[in-house]
């Protein structure tokens, strides 16, 4: 629990970056020094960001927890609130409350190999963990990043992937359902990438985020290859309004994604994952 759980606190946009035609990042700073000094988060957690007069949306925090003074949020312009955020510039004020939910199991991962599997566009929850590991490279073993997209032109942050690739003991593999211009990856479903990934399933902790069908399919392959299901972690997405497990919108079986998630150990979510209606 931290400072700002019940209602928002003022935050200022200190930097804005357009990542793709529809994706942008806002770097935020909490204005109240007291609130700012107590604010702590773990990668995988999220904040509720409030646009004055319009409403709130849950956004994952992608920046490094060691720098809580610059909170980076990568947002896709898909709705009324996110569109409003896309119009903001440096110096504009918004509301921020959080952080909420359970983040990635960073301590349990220490000393082990890590695999990241992500589908879709700019999957923020895993970007935070990749950044975290790269800043503390010596604490982790091998790092394998598998990224799938629908169309090859959907991939944002190409330079970032190229840079990750150059890191020592790190492998980056890309898959696109539909290929286009020069594409450094395979054409096909993300599960094809397991053929090319060099990893030891028993020694690896996997973190996934993206469409639930993809997560389900990828987890099946991993388990078949010898991963323990408890070593697989996933981040989920649902309608979230209160973020404290009360409004009921993020109900997923017997859990609230905002509180019990958004990061789940795979066996705790697999029963209903990708089951239509949950």
């Amino acid at each position: 629990m931290t400072v700002a759980m019940h209602y928002p606190h003022e935050a200022e946009v200190i930097e804005r970056c357009q990542e793709s035609p529809t994706i942008f990042s806002l770097v935020l700073r909490l204005m109240d020094p007291m609130v700012a000094s107590e604010y702590r988060f773990t990668p995988g957690q999220f904040n509720m960001l409030y646009l004055f007069g319009v409403g709130e949306i849950p956004i994952s925090i992608v920046s490094d927890p060691a720098r809580p003074g610059e909170l980076i949020h990568t947002i896709r312009d898909v709705g009324r609130v996110s569109h409003g955020f896309s119009q903001l510039g440096v110096g504009d004020r918004i509301g921020l409350r959080g952080p909420y939910g359970r983040g990635w199991p960073l301590e349990q991962m220490e000393g082990r190999d890590v695999m990241i599997v992500t589908g879709g566009l700019g999957c923020a929850p895993v970007v935070s963990v990749i950044n975290y590991i790269l800043q503390r490279r010596e604490r982790y073993g091998r790092l394998v990043i598998l990224q799938g997209v629908k169309h090859s032109s959907d991939l944002i942050w190409r330079e970032r992937y190229a840079e990750w690739e150059r890191q020592n003991n790190t492998q980056v593999l890309l898959a696109a359902d539909v290929g286009g211009e020069p594409w450094p990856g395979v054409i096909g479903p993300i599960t094809m990438l397991f053929e090319y990934a060099r990893f030891n399933p028993q020694a690896t902790v996997t973190m996934m985020c993206g469409p639930e069908r993809m997560i389900h399919a990828a987890a099946d392959v991993l388990i078949e290859r010898g991963s323990r299901s408890e070593d697989i972690w996933i981040s989920m997405e649902r309608n979230m309004q209160c973020a404290v497990g009360q409004c009921g919108h993020c109900q997923f079986g017997a859990s609230f994604v905002c509180r019990n998630g958004p990061v789940y150990r795979y066996p705790d979510a697999s029963e209903l994952l990708a089951k239509r209606g949950f």
């Binding site: 629990m1 709705g79 004020r93 918004i94 509301g95 649902r238 309004q241 209160c242 404290v244 409004c247």
Partner: protein
């Protein structure tokens, strides 16, 4: 009377004493009264507002108030609502934002300051539901401020049910018809008056202000018989106390489709249900643009928007919504709150416009499980 007395007999004609004692202690008295063809909980001006002689006929899709010559004040089972709207307000401001001319934002939380309120005539099912709502809104590391403020000001005068409706099935869920805990005072209504017992120190305080007679063994016996009879009168039941495995094991049961063909997805069931807690949040900016209030209002898992995530609806159709309601209420609640979310009040049966009956729908699945 001696101050260690925690029960006594209050003659019927002295019932006003109880209201006077509560009012004298600063409570606003809220209780059942008939309005627009239903029993609603509202502020009571006096005993005359209570529904003397009123009976209520309830059946799937139907609720009818009947008047008799009888004098009993509590000869009915329940109204469409009882405690829930008094604590979990149907609509309220959570916080508000002010914007200065320079674009700075200031936020403030709105915490209500409710008057002490005594609710008269609370049923066992409603106390059980209250316990669950308390668990949901208060027993967490982020307790709800508005709910908590109202809850702390509440004084509960319960009454043991003697005349359940046809839709009631609290005996099968273990929540009634007799009240077992969670009250300040509890009444047994007999022809000649009330046995009144205290269940808390604030209850003791009110009891001390009343002129009570000793309770006779005959009166005690009559009270017990009445609740035993009330339990026996209930014809409906759920097929078990924990239906979690049955329901989650039958997610593809054909009966979900059968219910979906009748259900209108109107959400009446969730709004009358005393344990349903979903709410949506929304902003309402002031006309001048310098401030905006952030509200919450009751929501329902039967609405389209409930499961919407940018461009995708998790439960687009009625079959998935009805299944969500039931698997959560009778299944998921066991893991989240340690028991089923149904207290057997039967409201969702009576207030469903097409008469969908939770006990029958679950019964159909239990009768032919996968």
């Amino acid at each position: 009377m001696p101050d260690d007395v925690t029960s006594g007999f209050l003659p019927g004609q002295d019932f006003a004493q109880l209201l006077a004692a509560l009012t004298g202690q600063g409570y606003r008295c809220v209780g059942p009264t008939v309005r627009d063809g239903a029993l609603v909980y509202d502020t009571l001006q006096g005993v005359r507002d209570l529904p003397a002689g009123v009976h209520i006929q309830q059946s799937p899709g139907s609720y009818r108030v009947e008047f008799s010559q009888g004098k009993r004040l509590f000869g009915w089972a329940n109204g469409p609502q009882a405690l829930k709207p008094l604590l979990f307000a149907p609509r309220e401001v959570l916080w508000q934002a002010q914007r200065t001319a320079g674009g700075e934002l200031h936020f403030s939380q709105e915490i209500p300051e409710p008057l002490p309120t005594a609710v008269i005539g609370v049923r066992a099912c409603d106390l059980a539901a209250l316990e669950l709502q308390d668990r949901h809104f208060l027993e967490t590391d982020v307790p709800d401020a508005g709910y908590g403020a109202r809850r702390r000001q509440l004084f509960l005068v319960a009454v043991n049910c003697t005349r359940p409706a046809e839709t009631c099935f609290c005996a099968s869920t273990g929540d009634g018809p007799a009240v077992s805990r969670g009250y300040d005072l509890v009444l047994d209504e007999l022809d000649e008056g009330f046995i009144i017992r205290s269940g808390s120190t604030s209850g003791d305080g009110i009891l001390d202000l009343l002129t009570l007679q000793p309770v006779s063994p005959q009166q005690l016996g009559a009270a017990t018989d009445a609740t035993v009879r009330a339990a026996a009168m209930q014809g409906r039941q759920l097929p078990g106390r924990n239906l979690r495995d049955l329901l989650f094991g039958n997610l593809d049961h054909p009966h979900w489709e059968v219910v979906a063909a009748r259900c209108l997805s109107c959400g009446n069931c969730t709004s009358v249900c005393p344990t349903c807690f979903c709410y949506r949040e929304l902003d309402q900016p002031a006309l001048g643009g310098e401030s905006s209030r952030h509200y919450r209002e009751w929501d329902s898992c039967f609405t389209q928007g409930h499961s919407y995530i940018h461009g995708f609806t998790v439960r687009p159709d009625t079959r998935l919504r009805y299944r969500q309601w039931l698997t959560h209420k009778l299944g998921g609640w066991h893991d989240q709150y340690g028991r089923s979310g149904c207290v057997g009040c039967g409201r969702c049966i009576a207030w469903c416009p097409v008469g969908i009956d939770i006990t029958e729908e679950v019964g159909a699945i239990a009768a032919s499980p996968a």
